[in-house]
């Protein structure tokens, strides 16, 4: 297999040097002469009528250039999109409102914008805007919000924004056949993306009257949405995407771009606007909290016969990507198991909480917590080994997903990864401390990579071989820090037989780079990887064809590598790449190519019973942990964490391991400590002092095991790993807690206090 020179090698990434040296220019590392500072005035109530807004005093403050409210926005209300070009119908579209109008729906909603000479003046001006509110009762619990007669968050006649269903078999018959039935409710909280780099950027108008927005965004295709808000043609708004200090889905929706565009358009000056950490936590999207009621039935030998689930999620105050996230949750709700009788119902409900939207995993991590906890419970109840019960029930090659019935014809690695992860825990650690109990937990899962097939996803890439043998790539790909940009360089280098040092890439610019689609949905290795592969191979084909003519051999006998075109099995016979390029250029043979890769296209499914192919493919994985629980304090320490995924082909094993390790810790924070606490719509965790995430000191030994089946749809058989890597660690940890101390934590995060309250019920009763 080792015919690869660059692909599959743990090489330093294209962006590694600049990042290590601190030379990379992130969104924040940029300024322009005469630049103004933007500031957003946020609502101080979660639900209120706006009686009036008086901006007089703010406008009079010296140094203020613009104060904007909803009235100043040409098209204040549009539709939430996320880069898709196919029509998907009303079921997925929600209201996108730039600035609050008449009514505020959540605390932190943008009410007005200010641009001023300095950040201090902008802040002072925002404080001088007089908003006369009439507080409204609001509704903060999705279950309450679903009830008839509940306070209406928006302008519609119901708070329920979507209802999805999925079923197969006969659920009644299934439970009638069951010999053991377990039923329980699980809850997961709001969490923040907690990227190092908050939302922000700089905008200006160039000499062509185009609004340029230099910003960290996962979806540069939002240039269209921004143009529509301003009532401008699409080609008058340009996104220049920067390398990001983390995205995790939080930069998938529009963040500050419309604000920047409006302020620069009104003032005709460059404007800079960055969210503070507090604004990022208070005002931007969160991961959906879910209340998940599950019922599973099995035979005494552990075989699953029925699964019924009702999922209710909190959309917060605006829909954003909620319908999509809930579709993922619905499809993932029965997990990676073969269950003949399944019925899933999912509701997503508006409340006056901070809005929720994409967050790494996109609706998959939530149901995973529920079904993997239940599988564990079933294993204990039936005295079956946790690995055995999963092996007995998991989907294998040729079987289908129990929710949608989508059939898996390529290798399904679930039995392999489950066994590898579980065994890699090795010998049980010995602890001296008499108060500590050791426990182990396992969870398996599957998650899609690539967008929903009814979105008709495409990606483009331009590759050019220069006359000196160097290579130029242009791709619209945004890089979140996951190595997306470097990946394309590696593919082009491999295909064109040149070293990485000879590749130069321009990325993430809607005016100058071919649109590659969003860096979301774990799609870039698959989509843009394939687009780059296609472009590079087209050029390679022309080079080889020419070389074959020059050498007078059959082109099939030629390979490219180390800047030579070599006769297979006879490395002494070759032509330098440069000579072939020269010949091509002399004859006008095109050594450039812009290629488009198309994912599989399907129709929009029936949302009341979602069946068939919804996603191009899935990544399968297993995670196992060994932990200790302090039985007196409830503190959990993760001692060892194993993460094992079939990644198809690891194009850069270092990047893949990085994703698997980072994803594990992302999920570990979800399991043990992260929660955005909201009390009647008020965030009680507005900074990193209250919203705690794992530090380097909390990270355990992580072992990443890569299975490379080659069965993926990406280049060289690669699968996506970004989101799958974080989506099952939480239930593995919950299962380990149960194994250690016999306590089943059913609501995340599993804090020491929750564990101790469960362990020491007698002490806490009556206190």
């Amino acid at each position: 297999m080792s015919e690869f020179k660059i692909v599959g090698k743990p090489i330093p990434r294209e962006d590694a040097r600049a990042k290590a040296k601190g030379e990379l220019k992130y969104a924040d590392d940029f300024s322009l002469p005469g630049m103004l500072y933007g500031k957003v005035l946020h609502s101080k109530y979660p639900a209120a009528k706006i009686i009036s807004i008086d901006t007089t005093k703010a406008k009079q403050l010296p140094g203020v250039h613009a104060v904007l409210t909803a009235r100043d926005v040409p098209h204040n209300e549009t539709i939430t999109r996320f880069g898709q070009s196919a029509e998907v119908g009303k079921g997925f579209e929600g209201l996108y409102r730039v600035l609050a109008d008449k009514k505020v729906r959540f605390r932190g909603e943008a009410v007005a914008l200010v641009a001023a000479d300095t950040e201090e003046i902008a802040e002072e001006a925002a404080a001088l805007i007089e908003v006369n509110y009439e507080p409204l009762p609001g509704v903060f619990d999705p279950v309450e919000a679903m009830k008839p007669g509940a306070y209406l968050v928006g302008e519609g006649d119901s708070n329920i924004i979507c209802k999805f269903g999925c079923s197969q078999g006969d659920i009644k018959k299934g439970f009638a056949e069951a010999e053991v039935i377990i039923e329980d409710t699980y809850q997961v909280p709001f969490v923040d993306h907690a990227y190092l780099e908050t939302e922000g950027g700089v905008a200006w108008i160039d000499e062509k009257e185009v609004i340029n927005i230099r910003v960290g965004s996962q979806v540069i295709e939002h240039f269209r949405d921004v143009a529509e808000v301003l009532g401008l043609p699409h080609n008058q708004v340009r996104y220049i995407g920067t390398m990001m200090g983390g995205g995790f889905g939080g930069k998938e929706d529009i963040t500050v771009e419309t604000y920047l565009a409006l302020l620069t358009w009104k003032t005709k000056k460059p404007v800079r606007l960055f969210y503070t950490r507090e604004e990022s936590i208070l005002c931007h999207s969160k991961r959906h909290p879910f209340i998940m009621h599950y019922k599973v039935g099995a035979k005494k030998d552990g075989r699953l016969v029925a699964l019924e689930a009702e999922l209710i999620s909190d959309a917060g105050a605006y829909p954003y990507l909620s319908p999509w996230v809930n579709l993922y949750a619905t499809v993932n709700a029965a997990g990676p198991y073969c269950i003949p009788n399944v019925k899933i119902n999912t509701y997503c409900v508006l409340t006056n909480n901070t809005f929720t939207s994409a967050n790494r995993g996109f609706g998959a991590p939530q149901p995973n917590v529920a079904y993997e906890s239940l599988m564990d419970e079933l294993a204990y109840k039936l005295k079956i080994d946790p690995l055995e019960i999963r092996r007995k029930n998991c989907i294998t090659t040729g079987k289908s997903l129990s929710t949608t019935g989508q059939v898996f014809n390529t290798y399904v690695a679930l039995p392999e990864v489950a066994e590898k992860a579980w065994k890699a825990l090795g010998e049980t650690k010995k602890v001296e401390d008499k108060n500590k109990r050791i426990g182990r937990g396992l969870a398996i899962g599957l998650m899609s990579y690539g967008r929903m097939t009814f979105l008709h996803d495409t990606s483009r890439c331009y590759v050019r071989l220069e006359s000196d043998g160097s290579v130029l790539i242009r791709s619209g790909i945004p890089d979140l820090g996951g190595g997306q940009v470097s990946l394309l360089c590696q593919i082009a280098a491999e295909e064109l037989g040149v070293p990485m040092s000879k590749i130069r890439i321009y990325y993430s610019d809607t005016a100058l780079t071919p649109l590659a689609g969003t860096t979301t949905a774990t799609r870039q290795t698959y989509m843009s990887g394939n687009a780059t592969l296609k472009a590079a191979r087209e050029i390679k084909k022309r080079i080889i064809q020419k070389a074959a003519e020059m050498m007078n051999v059959n082109p099939e006998k030629l390979v490219i590598g180390e800047e030579k075109i070599i006769v297979k099995y006879d490395s002494a016979q070759y032509l330098p790449l440069l000579e072939v390029i020269k010949a091509c250029n002399t004859e006008g043979i095109e050594l450039f190519c812009e290629a488009q890769f198309k994912g599989p296209f399907t129709m929009v499914p029936d949302l009341s019973n979602i069946r068939g192919t919804i996603f191009p493919d899935f990544t399968f994985g297993a995670q196992a942990v060994e932990i200790s629980v302090d039985i007196e304090t409830g503190q959990v320490e993760v001692l060892k964490l194993v993460t094992c995924y079939d990644v198809g082909k690891a194009i850069n094993p270092l990047s893949v391991e990085g994703q698997m390790e980072g994803g594990s810790i992302y999920g570990m924070g979800y399991a043990l400590m992260e929660e955005v606490v909201m009390e009647k719509g008020v965030t009680l965790t507005p900074s990193f002092s209250e919203y705690i995430i794992p530090t380097a000191a909390d990270v355990p030994e992580v072992e990443a095991i890569l299975v490379e089946s080659g069965g993926g749809l990406g280049p060289y058989g690669a699968k996506g790993i970004g989101e799958p890597s974080c989506s099952i660690i939480a239930p593995a940890i919950l299962n380990a807690i149960y194994d250690a101390v016999g306590v089943r934590i059913k609501s995340l995060p599993a804090t020491p206090e929750k564990i101790i309250r469960a362990l020491k019920k007698h002490y806490f009763e009556g206190r």
């Binding site: 705690i692 794992p694 909390d698 206090e753 101790i756």
Partner: protein, 286 residues
Amino acid sequence: MSQFRYISPKTKEEVLKILEEEKSEACIVAGGSNVLPYIRDKIIPPKLLLDISGIEELNYIKKNGSNWRIGATTTISDLISSKIIREECNILCQAAEQFADPLVRNKATIGGNLADASPAADTAPPLLALDAGLEVESKGKKREIFLKDFFLGPRKTALQDDEMITGINFKSDSLNKPGCFIKLGLRQAMAISVVTVAMVLEIEENRVKDIRVAMGSVAPIPLRLFNAEEFLKNKHLNDDLIEEAKNKVYEEVNPISDIRASAEYRCYISGILFKRALEKLTNQTS
């Protein structure tokens, strides 16, 4: 961020002179790990920032016989890297090592941690257990305040507007070795304490000859647990006695519920940490 006047005097005398003139208009800043967030959150209104971090004469760790003196601008990292603290006053080293993270420890000072008067200040319980006193100066005047009398409430102290903490002192006595500090936080670094305990103990023939114990985050101020101390004195340590002593602890603490933990959990944990400190010290001394 608001506009501030900023002065960084080079001598203590200069600071005292400015304090005499500006009084509450001046805000002393050393490491800035509390003051800067307060400015950002508008808890401190715009006024004069008096940066004392550059005053060399306030940065020292001295031991003269059994008398210890630590200068106010001694950083938490200075405490960790001091050989004499590690070897002869380990309780303070334990607390310093669990304080925030290395970056904050390089800036935060012991005087600042006390002057901030947070119930969760990690250097307060060990210094309370050491029966420390604060050297407090104003222009032309020096006085000493016992640490146990210094804290008046959350972010409230016995300091006058024109006064500053210049140093901390305590005595080595038979209790001080080795001492024990236990912190329960919600993660391994950068954790604001849920509960802390600091204890020094002298045992004679399994009898508690003397004990001093203090806790953090269990009351509006860092708390000396005098009743629990009294209860244990001259008694033979055994499991039943420890259980009884825990009840004394429960009576003495008065924690709040906040985002990190409920009052009930804090109360429960104060008993657990108290017991663990006792067990640790008796195992070490026996």
